[in-house]
Point group: C2
Chain length 346, copies 2
């Protein structure tokens, strides 16, 4: 068992003290440039890598970032949050951080549920993705840990967030329907309590309103408990079971519900997009494999994770506690389910 190479080995070979080597390892100022180069070269030669736990102990920091997801979010068939996680993992490497992922229940009930990385002070900051009970946010803030929320926000809490441009997304969809000749446009929202969903719904109303188009509450379903495929199915059933005038297009607040909506329409013998056009939001894989392929709004998941890490690392290093709200852009992806071809404009 060959001994590990330590900072002492480097120091000895460089004929310097370990302090100097340490300064260099941490990019501290007041080191002669030549010395720095020499030591860096020796480090390379020796293949030296500082031991995480020793660093951590001495500097009172772990070099880890905690990533918290509710159990149901992570287990989802669609890797929406998985992609976000991947984005954090990639970006974390650039900053020499590790990501510790853990799943938790919806709310923090008692101490035994607290992720071990929080108890053991094994993270320097935390990222939470998706909707989650506010008790978690409160707990983490009490610990004075930098925190970022992705794809969620809590009105009553001062916390930095990374979101996506929901309003523009739905605006693009509705405008696309409108310029394509639709005037009776419905909306399926599911769980409207989710901030992102609420924004999408608001944007739907605003867009219609500012275009001077009718808003018919019978074309809208936003009361479902969740935003799953089944919720979309039920919502569509509700809308199309009602008598009276029917919508000719349905904007769904996400792809899962759009898929559920399409499932219902097919079963009911309603042609897509012939009788009714459908659109989603999120650009999940499954939208590509359904027939007709789903028109949707693309969201940059990896990028959201990456931005979250960058912001968090800033907060960790600068001890800054400025609250920011970052929006990532989205874009309309026109496929077959909306029956409107992308028109060459501008």
């Amino acid at each position: 068992m060959k001994r590990k190479i330590t900072i002492h080995d480097v120091a000895k070979k460089a004929e310097l003290s370990v302090s100097t080597v340490s300064l260099i390892m941490n990019n501290k100022p007041n080191v002669n440039e030549e010395t720095r180069r020499k030591v860096l070269e020796i480090i390379r030669q020796l293949g030296y890598h500082p031991l995480r736990s020793a660093r951590g102990l001495a500097s009172q920091s772990s070099g880890n970032i905690g990533f918290i997801l509710t159990e149901d979010h992570f287990s989802q068939a669609e890797p929406f949050y998985t992609k976000i996680f991947l984005g954090t993992e990639f970006e974390a490497r650039n900053h020499n951080f590790y990501i510790l992922l853990t799943t938790v229940g919806w709310t923090l009930k008692d101490q035994s549920q607290v992720p071990r990385f929080l108890l053991e002070h094994n993270v320097d900051g935390v990222i939470i993705a998706g909707k989650i009970g506010s008790s978690w946010v409160e707990y983490i803030q009490e610990q004075n840990l930098p925190l970022i929320l992705i794809d969620y926000e809590l009105a009553r809490h001062r916390v930095s967030t990374i979101g996506m441009d929901n309003r523009t997304g739905i605006n693009l969809v509705v405008e696309h329907f409108r310029t394509g000749g639709h005037s009776k446009i419905g909306f399926i929202g599911g769980d409207i309590r989710h901030p992102s969903i609420a924004e999408r719904f608001a944007s739907y109303r605003d867009t219609l309103a500012s275009a001077g188009m009718p808003i018919n509450s019978r074309w809208i379903s936003v009361g479902e408990a969740n935003t799953s495929l089944d919720d979309g199915y039920e919502a569509a059933k509700r809308i199309f079971s009602l008598g009276g005038e029917r919508p000719t297009a349905i904007a769904c607040a996400n792809d899962a519900m759009a898929l559920g909506c399409m499932k219902f329409l097919k079963e009911a013998g309603i042609a897509i997009p012939g009788d009714v056009a459908v659109s989603g939001f999120d650009n999940i894989e499954a939208g590509l494999h359904v027939e007709p392929r789903l028109t949707t709004v693309n969201v940059h998941r990896e990028e959201m994770g990456g931005i979250a890490v960058r912001r968090l690392v800033e907060m960790i290093k600068d001890h800054s506690s400025v609250i920011t709200k970052t929006l990532t852009p989205v874009e309309l992806i026109v496929r077959d389910s909306c029956g409107v071809k992308e028109s060459v404009s501008d």
Copy 2:
């Protein structure tokens, strides 16, 4: 900023030395039962949790397990490996380990690609899931790190693996077709170089052979580069473009290819399961949402991850290096795509 509670606080309150407290924290023998109880109670009261980095430094262990996935595996739409990861994460908690997940390229080309957790000795063992270049396995074994492979194996390397009972799975499928009246059963395998796929293919042949049924090479497609939906599509096209007698059932080596196969059949106007029955393997979500719903073989992904962690922790703690090969059970899930109802037998 309130000071953290350390082992010294516990020791002082208990009027004992830190050594004794440490012994108790680590479940070491030769501690009076009453003392142990007393200290444990004090630890509870104080809410003491040892600092990971201090432990790590002193005991020359990190308390982390590395989880390595190739980039393409993790990015896959279907959360097959994500589920496995989740299983490891759950089980790791029970053993007081953290999982550090990272993705890597197919082969290890140069030092700069080595995950940082390996360079910094920040893991006590490694789990690799899915097919991967053998250079990675070799590198990790050189580091004398305990290693487990999930859903993959390398014939030429001595390494413990966790797999699933592929042979039984396909056997169940083919038997189900046979007893349901099918005698012309085809197979779509995709990338036969993957050990799991190879086993499934072998089991297909064996089952047919031992039932005395014909094996027609024109009903078989196993040359594809991969095992994706598109590969399934192409394979089906190949099989059904050939003239001559056609199979009445197709066993696919995984669900993705089964879905691709179904896509082709639908486009070709071939009824499922009327003209051709189809089955998959893996029991992915998408199989539930396709029409008709896919008959498949269920695999316990989370459990595979959990077992991997248990085995790895054993290896870490016991310094044992016994090579084992663990198979997790599978079960047939009969849905609509095979056109055979589950018969009440036995």
